[in-house]
Amino acid sequence: MSKTFIIIQREFLFRVKKKSFILLTILMPFIMVAIVALPLWLSTIKDSEQKRVAVVDATGHYFEALKDTRSYHFFTAPSVLPEFRSDTCDVTAVVLIQDDLTRSTRGLTMYSREEISQELLSYVQTCIDQQVRKDKLSASGIHNLEGIIADIEANVTINTVKWDADGGETSSSTDIAIAAGFILTFLIYMFVMSYGGMVMSSVTEEKTNRIMELMVSSVKPFQLMMGKIIGVALVGFVQLAIWGIMLALLMAVVLPIIIPEGAAAGNVDPSMMAQMNTPVDPAVFNGGDNEMLQALQNLPYMELAIMFVLMFIGGYLLYASFFAAVGASVNSADDTSQFMMPMVFIMIFGLYAAMYSIENTNGPLAFWSSLFPLTSPIVMMVRIPFGVPLWQEVLSLVLLYGTAIAFVWLGGKIYRVGILMYGKKPTIKEMMKWIRYK
């Protein structure tokens, strides 16, 4: 046991001390925040320059409807002057209205030297449409028709409410549930792939540099395999933990700076949070932010956290021991692809199954693929925010851990023989034979 510990210690420290690990671990949260924050920030600065748009209005009626925006300044011109066509002119576009638009919908033309931006086009369209509509309504002669129509167009918002086991009501948000499930799923997928791959390449390296011949006299191959799998997992946990903490801190610091109006949603005072935990009539919260927050509050956090950790460990154990066995069987890193292919295929299938399961989280695809041990760690996480019966969770875990233990055992057998076997081309048949070796 203590030897396994020494191996875990080395595998962990060796990786954590690497420059590439330290760099990636520290930089990644900044990169992620930058990916989120940069577009937000850019969108706030793009309006700095106001462009000039000339309006040549033959009717003299519509110019009023085109109010200046932050990006565009509208001014009247008597006619389409020749200078508008020249490169040196600072007029971006010309709006030419030749006719009363209530009678002829084709009376409006826009000219410009460059492609007209979608933003300007839709703005002009909306303004003119509204004006035309207003004109037509007043032309009908019915008193206060505008007010009547505004009244008719009630915008119904749907509050989604989920009944929990006790019949109590909780506010839910499908979007938030999808996001939460998918982030967790993706984390598991990424982690298993990258760290499982790390186990494999490191085993292959140990085999090709023949260090095993030295080690085999002091440790059992199984100790070596488990030491490596656990050591690498710890590296992953540390990395995830650092990322989580740094991301939370960065988000708290950066987001309020970038979007000041969002700061209110980010810094809810604790008393309000406490209030939200108690079941309250969802109708009380009308603001969009509050609904989002409440839906966030109502995710089954405890369940998510426990299942995430369990699924994570089970899935990693399963795939990592498979990868270790493959790494020990091949003679060089180039030979791994034939074994990797089916596994990667299954994992990608799992990822797609997870995506399609979102649409129907209790459908047959979601159900079966969240029980099948090779895909369950990926698919199950998508389902949990929507609520999964306890028996399914337990069954899925039992199947996953049963298979994981079987994989560790079989992987250990293959590893033990494979790591010292040189020159033989590993085939499935050969590996089956290794499993039977005493």
Binding site: K3, I6, R10, I211, E213, S218
Partner: protein, 304 residues
């Protein structure tokens, strides 16, 4: 003589060929045992069986008087022919890690390592990554790692390959020092020149069989050719068909060189006194075959 390690009737078959066919060797305690043979004879397979890296199809290994137990491998230090350590790890860290896996405490490992590093004058390598060292340097490090935990049995597979003569000599001395300290050494090689300097006992494996075994001097005696080199200054000698005949004769600076073939019934002193009667002897020496000659004779003879 007490046998430290015995392999009895070892058979190992691979799918296409038999690597070892009924091979038995006895390694006496506290000696250097040379495991000799041409490439592909089965030396490394035998070593891997002794190390329990592979299992034999038949046969047994006895270690220190008892049937080999799995825990006995801890008493073996093995320097494989294909050297391998972690390329990206620092030399000192790596050596301590491997030593700890052998059951040494970190403190003790460090103490012994510093001693060895000073002995080999390589202390400045401690914080270097292994891949920064040359091949010969890496081998020095690996040699230290092999012997560090003072195992009873040391197995060196081609330890001198890749070493310059100075370092090969250093290593040779260390191997003999280890032997004198009571370690049993198995030394596998196909380089015969070093065998006579280092080995006490040998076994020659060729084509999966042990074809020659015994003490180095004994083996040499066995391969006596009955040829003598005699240098005389005065007088003359001529064939005496009952006793000896002249194979070769030459003269140089007044010294006459002869190579004589002795009749096996005649003793050395008889021959010497016989010659002394006719001539003044400057030098009289039996031509003992070198291990290289024996190797060529045994292996070459079988292959013909």
């Amino acid at each position: 003589m007490e046998q430290f390690l015995e392999a009895r009737h070892i058979v190992k078959r691979f799918s296409s060929h038999t690597a070892l066919d009924d091979v038995s060797i006895s390694v006496p305690r506290g000696r250097v045992f040379g495991l000799l043979g041409p490439n592909g004879a089965g030396k490394t397979t035998l070593i891997r069986i002794i190390n329990r890296i592979t299992a034999p199809d038949m046969g047994e290994v006895f270690f220190d008087g008892h049937m080999f137990r799995p825990e006995d491998v801890a008493q073996i230090g093995y320097l494989p022919e294909e050297r391998g350590l972690y390329r990206k790890m620092r030399v000192g860290e790596q050596a301590i890690y491997l030593a700890r896996l052998k059951g040494m405490s970190e403190h003790e490992a460090k103490r012994r390592l510093i001693m060895w590093f000073e002995k080999f004058q390589i202390t400045e390598w401690w914080d270097k990554k292994l891949e920064e060292l040359s091949k010969g340097m890496q081998q020095k490090v690996q040699f230290i790692i092999t012997v560090l935990h003072k195992p009873q049995l040391l197995i060196f597979d081609e330890p001198f390959s890749g070493f310059d003569p100075v370092n090969a000599e250093l290593l040779k001395r260390e191997i003999l020092t280890l032997r004198d300290a009571g370690h049993t050494v198995i030394y596998s090689t196909h380089n015969m020149a070093s065998v006579e300097d280092v080995c006490d006992e040998i076994a020659l494996i060729n084509r999966s069989h042990v074809v020659l075994t015994g003490n180095v001097h004994e083996v040499k005696q066995r391969f006596r050719t009955g040829l003598y080199e005699v240098i005389i200054t005065d007088g003359d000698i001529s064939d005496e068909p009952e006793k000896f005949c002249i194979v070769e004769a030459s003269e140089c600076d007044g010294l006459r060189h002869f190579v004589l073939q002795k009749n096996p019934t005649l003793s050395n002193s008889d021959l010497a006194s016989l010659i002394a009667r006719h001539a003044e002897i400057r030098s009289f020496a039996e031509q003992l075959p070198s291990m290289n000659d024996i190797f060529l004779q045994v292996v070459g003879g079988i292959q013909e």
